[in-house]
Each structure stands twice: as structure tokens, then as C-alpha cells.
Symmetry: C2
Subunit: 422 residues, 2 copies
Amino acid sequence: MKIHETLDAYIDAHTSEATAFLQSLIQEKSVQGNELGVQQLVTRKLESLGLRPDVWEPNAHELDGHPYYIPSRPAYKGSPNVVAVWKGTGGGKSIILNGHVDVVPEGDTAKWTQPPFGGTIVDGKMYGRGTTDMKGGNVSLMLALESLIRTGVRLKGDVIFESVVEEESGGTGTLATVLRGYKADAALIPEPTNMKLFVKQQGSMWFRITVEGRSAHGGTRYEGVSAIEKAILVHQAVLELEKKRNSRINDPLYAHIPIPVPINMGKIQGGSWPSSVADLVTVEGRIGVAPHESMQAVKDELKETLERVSAGDPWLKDHPVRLEFFGGQWVPNQLATDHPFTEVVVSTFEEIYHRPIAVEASPWGTDGGLLGRVGEIPTLVIGPGETRVAHYPDEFIQLSEVVLAARYFARIIAAWCEPTAS
Amino acid sequence: MKIHETLDAYIDAHTSEATAFLQSLIQEKSVQGNELGVQQLVTRKLESLGLRPDVWEPNAHELDGHPYYIPSRPAYKGSPNVVAVWKGTGGGKSIILNGHVDVVPEGDTAKWTQPPFGGTIVDGKMYGRGTTDMKGGNVSLMLALESLIRTGVRLKGDVIFESVVEEESGGTGTLATVLRGYKADAALIPEPTNMKLFVKQQGSMWFRITVEGRSAHGGTRYEGVSAIEKAILVHQAVLELEKKRNSRINDPLYAHIPIPVPINMGKIQGGSWPSSVADLVTVEGRIGVAPHESMQAVKDELKETLERVSAGDPWLKDHPVRLEFFGGQWVPNQLATDHPFTEVVVSTFEEIYHRPIAVEASPWGTDGGLLGRVGEIPTLVIGPGETRVAHYPDEFIQLSEVVLAARYFARIIAAWCEPTAS
């Protein structure tokens, strides 16, 4: 097919430019609240393609009260979404291309061998926070889009490119795009799946558990009640809940995943003085939600577990453990393997990669849940970069994978949105 | 004895004044680093009695390298000691009266029903951080001293009043008094013993345990190693060590104390993101040292316990738990029950309280260890206020106990330092 060769040739001729663009995106430290710089780069890129991006900050006031809105921040000043629509000629199926630009913090910089926001290239890999999760995938999308526009292809369906904020803390950015009216017949999110196709994505929620104790002088600690000791009871009970929840999962897609829907207790903080008994401990974590589960059912199950812990302890009985859900929330999602969009994504894969596509259920949530459950948009997740390096020190992406994914995405878009006959 | 009646009468006539003075001391929030205001009040009080206080900041540079110096802060700027010597006429035995002015933080203010630094009086009790631990006892000492000076008593021995800093974090203040040359034939510390006589005091040390994990995305938490889970192993091992150490204590003085030498793990902190696996946890605590033990032997025992934990865990084997001793350190102390000073303290007690004195071993360390082991000064600890309210919300002291203790202390000083015949 002539068009494929043209697109491939364009992409090959523009890999250096795309690499430099990715590097500039990495050098913008777009952690939560600091996404303006990177979005300005994206905006300029889209404008250079002749598009007129819609740039707006999510409005906390408008979002408030929406059942899927988790207010991670009081306001989103300086954290705009960028959406550009490449209008089709009409009569075709439309597609949303969605990627987030926010990144998690770099963590302990001593564990990085490369600068966390340098975008340095070593042996064909670019290093830096956000290379894999997920500016690499975003650049693949933009390069695909660019190849289509610059080579004069005309599509029947609309292509809607969305560069969103707040994915890492619950999806306010993508929710805002849906509520602003951006819909399509399908959506593609190039989160780092190492080019596996995630037809199901695990959802998740952040929670905070507060455990009360009674303070006392450490020298007479038997007169107090250690909130740390009680928090350990809670910790063990939550691990048991994790076991129970996972024993119920029999989806073959999760067969090779040690813990399909993990509960991660990631942060603990308690006590204020070495020689006082700790009177307050907070544990913050993330609970996975299986693709078929409702958020509320999972909340209830965690709540019941903690109630059981409290009821079974003489101190906690009168000072029950408190539970709240806060910050991040990712809605799970699934799309049938025989959906027409899945079929396009699967068949196109072999053309580019010359091997069968691996179909999996993802161990983490994406904005796909919001597109799927709130926007009712059939959504799939597949992208370059390996999950195992996301959120880690020395996060990197293989640059050749970014380019190959651009070829793949260009063909998917063309196949789905259908070129005009001209 | 005429002198006793005179002293009692003076004290009774000045209780309102002493109460107001105590209130002003409480209103100075003299947490670590913030002791200047309270020491200025003490200085003015001593000056009003005709004394010329020695006011100086401990010099970290001079203290450095002393085997009993635990640098809790890099410098003591703005945290002076105050020492005043009331010279005797000669030929008598001298006494040190030692009390600290630093207080532990107020903790969760929501748990206080009275303002933590208000010094409010309800039903004869004054409330506030430091009322019991130990500004109440300090005021008893100062009122006793005032009664002796103001009623014209002359003593043969010197009376050395010491208002010190840094007791709550290891005794730098008192160590500095010893190294500055303040010595005496006996020392009295009115820590809140509820007027029980502590002939033995438990020592203690602060420690910090650092546990390493490996970070990972919470959704694939099985790819990481939770430092929180490993810290729980450590926590349990330390509780077992506490059991073992206490099973060895057979001193009848400790017979009624549930845990004679407790190990308190008071503070825990770890992880930085709810949906990342925690890669670092620190636990800070306090380990009790029995009166007969050496500090080093206790350090070694904790170290060996942690080494055993590390050796027994596949991850910790290669990432061993780290242990450091920092901040607070209180040296244990003991004085024979047949020492002449003990005899004076015991016999005088019955005169005032009309019941036999209770002799105990304290569950916590005091600056008495430094006076005893470094200064070689026979030291006893007895004072008003109940241990159980120290370091707690709604700390308070019964004001009548402060006054009664002042009478008692005045008589001890008179008996030990011996009035001139005049």
C-alpha cells in the first residue's frame, strides 16, 4: 500500500527531529503542578502542523461533584490540558489519541546514574523521568500524526490529539476532556506496555489509614498504646485482604502476574519523638481494582477489613482505625477482543512487528477507565517503553521503539479513520 | 526546731507568688532550642535573691569528644544554662539542686483540653507542658532556696542551684555544668517521682534504625521490596529483645514495674508516594539501660539483634539494617540506701509527709547519671508531680504538692548543709 511506504519514509526521515523534541519534553520537569512548560512545547508543535490547539486549565469548580472526580488539588492553575482536532472530511470513524505529560517525582537522585531530567542518550536509550511514562509514547503519537498531515493524507474521521495533565494522581486532565465534549469512536493511549496490548486495565485508588494510639513517656511505655504496633496489625490485615482478593481472580489474562490486583502500602508516618509512645500513625497506599469491579465495591471491602481489625482489638474497638480515599483514582477498563477497533490494532501490529501481538491485562490503571466508563469510548492501551522502568530511577526508553511505534500508530489511525479516495 | 517553723511560714506566705512564677515559666514554650525566655525568668528570679547567676551556652566545640557527650544539636546558641551559687560560711557539706527547663513538644493539640502552654489553673491543678516535667519541681527548689535566703538562714555548705537545658535530649546542659567545675557533696533532682525516692535511675539511649527496600510501581509491587514490610520484621525482633532483656532483671525495686527497661519505638517514617513501593524506612526509638549496665553493652546487644534479623532475611542479608545512636542519652545512676545523703532525704521525708518514704528504681533516666558517673556526685531523684502525666496531653501538677515539696527541700538543704550556730 503506497500510503504506508510514504508514512514510513516520512517517519524515518524525521527521527532526529522527534528525538530532539522528546529530549526537550524530558527537560521540562513536569511533576504535578509544573506541567505548563511541557504543554507549551506540545502546543507549539501542534501549531506547527497547522492545528489550532484548545488549551485550558481544568476547572475544579465545574468538576466538583462529578462521581469520577477526585480533587487531587484545590485548583489547576498553570496546569493546562492541550487538545487539537485534525478534522476529517466526514463519514469516517474518529479516534482519540491520549497521553499524559505529568510525571512522578524522581525520588532519591542518588539512585540515578543519569540526570533525572536530562534526557541524555546512551546506546540508543534516552534516560530521564517521563521517557517511558509516557512522553516517549506521546512523541510516537505526534510523529504519527505529523507523518499523516505532512504527507498530504486526508482522512474521513476526526483525529483528536489529547495531551493531558494529572494522570499520575487520578485523571482530572482526561476527565476534563470528556466533560468538555471530546468524544470519538475509539481511543488509543500509548502508556508503556512494551507494545503489549492491554485490553483490560486494572483500576486503583489511593487510601489513607489513620491509626490512633495513646501517648506516654517511653520509659513507661506500658502506660501508653503504640499506634505503630496497632498499624502493624492493620498492615498484616491488609496483606491478607490482598491475598483474598487475588485468589478470586481467574481471568487467564492475569495468569502470569504474581499479584493481579496488588494493595501497595507505600508510605508510613507516625510518632513525633523517639522516647514517646506514638499516638498517631498514617499509612498511605494504593489498592488495585479489577477490570470487572466497581470502585465502590472495592472501597467497601477495604472498609470492612479495617472494621474487622478494629473490632478484634481491645484498644481499636474504642479507637477505630479511620479510612479515607484521597488523591489518585484510576478507573478500570476493558474492551472486547472482537471489537472492530481491537481487530484493527491487532491486525496492524503484525504488519509492523512481524509477530503476533501479546494481549494482556495491565497491572495498573490508566486514563482509559475514564474514557471508557465516563466517555463510553472504546479504549485500548498499547505503547513503547517497559513498565518495569516507570517510576524507577534511571527510567529510560529505547528510541528505536518510539519510532517503530510511530509507524504503527500512523497505520492504525489511517486504517481506523480511513483515507479519502483522492 | 525554730528554723523549720520559720521556713514553713515563709513558704506558706509566698505560695501565690510561686504559683504565678510557675505559670510564667509554663507560658514560655521552652522546647529544644527555645529555652532562652524561660532561663531569663529564672535568672531574674535568682538575681532578686541577691545571687549572681552564671549564664552560659554549652560549647559544642569543648564538649566534642567527651565520652558522655551526645551532640543533639550542632550548637547551643540561645539555649543557656543558668547556675547560681549561694556560698556557705565554710566547713559544711555542699549540695547541688538541679532541674531542667526544656520540655518535650506538646504533641497533638486536639488531645489537650487545656492550652498546652497556658498554665491554666483548675481545681488546684496547673495545666501545661512542663508543669510536671519539671518546672513544678524547679519552682519547689527555688521557693525552698528563697525561704532559706529571705529568712536570714546562713548555711555552712554551698548551695548550687542549676537550671539546665537539653535534659530531654541527653543531658548536654548538666554535662556542661560538671565540666565547668560545679561539684558538690550531694545532688538532688526533683524530677516528677510523685515524691517517691528514686535511688536507682534507669538510663536510656536514642537510636535510629534504617531499613532499605527497593522501589517499584505499586501496581507491580512484587517487583520491589517493601521497606515497610522489612521494618516490621525489625520491630518484632526489637520487641523480643525487650522481653529477653527484662527477663534478666531481678532487682526487687523493679518488681512492680511491667517492663523495667523498655525499648520504645516512638517514630516511624518511610516511603514517599502511596503507589510506589517504599524504599527506605527509619524507626527512631529509645532503649532503657538498667542501673548496673554499661551503655556500650546495651548498644552491642541491640546491634547484635539487628545483625541477626539481617542475616535471617534473604533481602536484608544483602541490604543490612543500619543502626545509629543519636540525640538523647541518659546515663543510669544509683546511690546506696545507707549513704548519709540518702539517710537525710529519708528521715526528713517523714517529718513533712508523716508516712514512710517509698523507695523505687525509676523507669527513666535523668541527669542524675551524669552527675553520678561523670561528676562522681552522690545523687538522688525525688520530686512532685506524677510520671504518668509527663509527656502526655493535659500534663498538670497539683499546686499544693509544689508547696509541700518546697518545705521538704528547704529542710533537706538545711539538714545537709548545716545552719551556722548564730
